[in-house]
């Protein structure tokens, strides 16, 4: 079978890493430095690459929406790509170091600063005890990812630290809640092996189309709807969260009405009767019954998660083979 030895799958190895993490947590709780939350902001969540193997029980995938940026933040500190970090949406977050520690930042530019010094995404830096790391407001993209040495220490729930608020699973206390004032983020390791990134990626890549693997139901959409779907621009709506992102644009007509509910993959582009697509993301419900154009590739999902309301996006149809090639190429960058 292809590629089984040279590329560790993020998802398949998540469970194993989480198990190792439980032990590490016990042994090293006092070893790593800690950050305390001074101001929580609208939504800061502990996230890893998601919760797997329990979707048949109605448990959603969860995990970093922009898994690529979490992967880069981890890479900068020499962490495994599956280590848990902090997903900071929009900004408004202030953290203060209780001891000296090395951190890395990737993803959106949320005007982060270390006391008064601006911190650019895709860098690592040292925070001294008493210094504050502040995320103000989005300048480019929507979600920043903060990595701590070895990842954030906490006890995984069903193999993952992914915080899912709706399901009350994961995060610091296992209840899936967002960070609140007074919470402590403890690093699993005291030391890390930092790396430098010479040419930081653009997590938004505005203008580049979102790769969409077309699904079988596409045959039930009428011809002009299909033409519009792939040739017109779509606006990211303000109705967007970790479950899904609504897009507005031309009305898409599908001959299938409601369907019998079935499992929904990450990135599914479902089209409810109003003809305006919803891209289903990490915290989606596990089954649903609207017709789908297909599913965005995982890389496209990561980029969509960085789009702000009003941003314009386009779809480009790709084969699963092409989407897989691009996905494996991304994993290979972290080897």
């Amino acid at each position: 079978m292809a590629g089984s030895n040279n590329t560790a799958g993020l998802q398949a190895s998540a469970q194993q890493t989480a198990e190792q993490q439980t032990g590490a947590h016990m042994a090293q709780e006092t070893a790593g430095g800690a950050l305390v939350v001074i101001q929580a902001g609208p939504q800061a969540l502990v996230q890893d690459q998601g919760r797997f193997g329990v979707r048949h029980l109605g448990v959603t995938q969860g995990g970093a929406l922009d898994w690529v940026s979490l992967g880069w933040a981890n890479w900068l500190l020499g962490n495994a790509p599956t280590a848990a970090g902090l997903e900071v949406a929009v900004g408004g977050l202030t953290l203060e170091a209780q001891s000296r520690l090395t951190l890395a930042l990737a993803g959106a530019d949320l005007s982060a600063r270390l006391d008064d010094t601006p911190i650019a995404p895709y860098t690592h830096f040292v925070i001294e005890a008493g210094q504050q790391l502040v995320f103000e407001r989005p300048r480019h993209g929507l979600r920043a990812y903060l990595a701590l040495p070895g990842g954030i220490a906490a006890t995984p729930v069903m193999g993952s630290l992914a915080s899912v608020m709706r399901e009350q699973l994961g995060g610091l206390d296992g209840q899936g809640r967002a960070l609140a004032k007074g919470d402590r983020l403890v690093a699993r390791h005291a030391e890390c092996r930092t790396r430098r990134l010479d040419t930081p990626p653009d997590p938004v890549a505005a203008g580049a189309p979102l790769a969409l693997v077309t699904g079988a139901q596409i045959a039930h959409f009428d011809g002009s709807s299909l033409f519009d779907a792939f040739n017109q621009a779509w606006q990211v709506d303000s109705r967007a969260d970790r479950m899904g992102v609504r897009l507005t644009g031309p009305v898409l007509r599908c001959r299938l009405g409601g369907m019998i509910s079935e499992g929904i993959p990450l990135g599914a582009v479902q089209v409810p009767p109003d003809g305006q697509p919803i891209v289903l993301l990490n915290d989606r419900q596990t089954v649903g019954g609207y017709p789908r154009l297909g599913a965005l590739s995982p890389l496209a999902c990561a980029r969509l998660a960085q789009c702000q309301p009003g941003d314009s996006v386009r779809f480009a149809a790709v084969t699963p083979q092409r989407a897989r090639r691009d996905y494996l190429a991304q994993l290979a960058r972290w080897q």
Binding site: G9, F52, L57, I260, E262, G263, P265, A268, P298, Y327
Partner: protein, 237 residues
């Protein structure tokens, strides 16, 4: 039992395939769905990330670092070849005690009024048959079960409730379900159970699994309290 299905395999994502077994909802589908579930789990082994059975389908989420699209298709077809339905005796059975009362199940009376029968008769009909857990979704441990007797079929509430308490037992069309945790919801609520449906600290995290058989049993208020039930009335909408 449904006749042997001819499985269709559809591409649904970079790393997912849909196995389409049937075109309509039927309890008789379940032995085939469960057989497909075990065959796919066995055949994919460590390359399987998640497998989500539902009424007529199974969603296979596989590990693309181990399998190409063509390899995944070939594995699925091999697993589904010559499928034999799972024996009925393999289904797990549950009896769920429910306190049916208007204070915790406001639609008990509206359904009774619509059918011009007593609330007791609604309860009797809801308890009269075994239900099949077709799929889990909506929330962890939330099982879509059916089919309820045709007369009880009731559309979802026009305006869903903001908060449906944990343990609420409801009906929507010909399906019935129990809310494992407090959540928004639009089902018609008949009563409440003290049974814990989802418990991360239990070995069996979710009480229900796809294919399980479930029967409801009416209990009185005192028994419900003995079982640890919360008698707080349903909030006004």
């Amino acid at each position: 039992m449904s006749p042997a299905p001819t499985p269709r395999l559809e591409t649904v994502a970079m790393d997912a395939l849909m196995v389409r077994l049937f075109s309509r909802i039927d309890e008789a589908n379940m032995p085939w769905t469960l057989a497909a579930d075990s065959a796919l789990r066995e055949r994919f082994g460590a390359a399987l990330i998640d497998l989500v059975p539902s009424y007529t389908t199974l969603l296979i989420h596989y590990d693309v670092t181990r399998l190409t699209h063509a390899e995944a298709r070939a594995l699925a077809l091999a697993a589904l070849d010559g499928l034999e339905p799972a024996a009925a005796s393999t289904a797990r059975e549950h009896v769920i005690p429910v306190w049916y009362d208007p204070s915790v199940g406001p639609e008990l009376e509206t359904i009774a009024a619509r059918l011009e029968i007593s609330p007791q008769e609604v309860i009797r009909r809801h308890c009269a048959r075994d239900y099949c857990a077709f799929a889990l979704g909506f929330a962890p441990g939330y099982a879509f079960m059916g089919l309820v007797e045709e007369t009880l079929a009731t559309p979802r509430l026009e305006t869903p409730r903001q908060r449906v308490p944990a343990g609420s037992v409801g009906i929507a069309e010909r399906q019935t379900a129990i809310y494992p945790m407090r959540s928004p919801g639009g089902w018609n609520i008949l009563g409440r159970t003290a049974v814990k449906l989802f418990d991360r600290d239990r070995e069996e995290i979710s009480l229900f699994r796809p294919g399980d058989r479930v029967r409801f049993e009416a209990i009185d208020r005192a028994t419900f309290i003995d079982q640890g039930g919360d008698v707080t009335p349903m909030e006004e909408r």
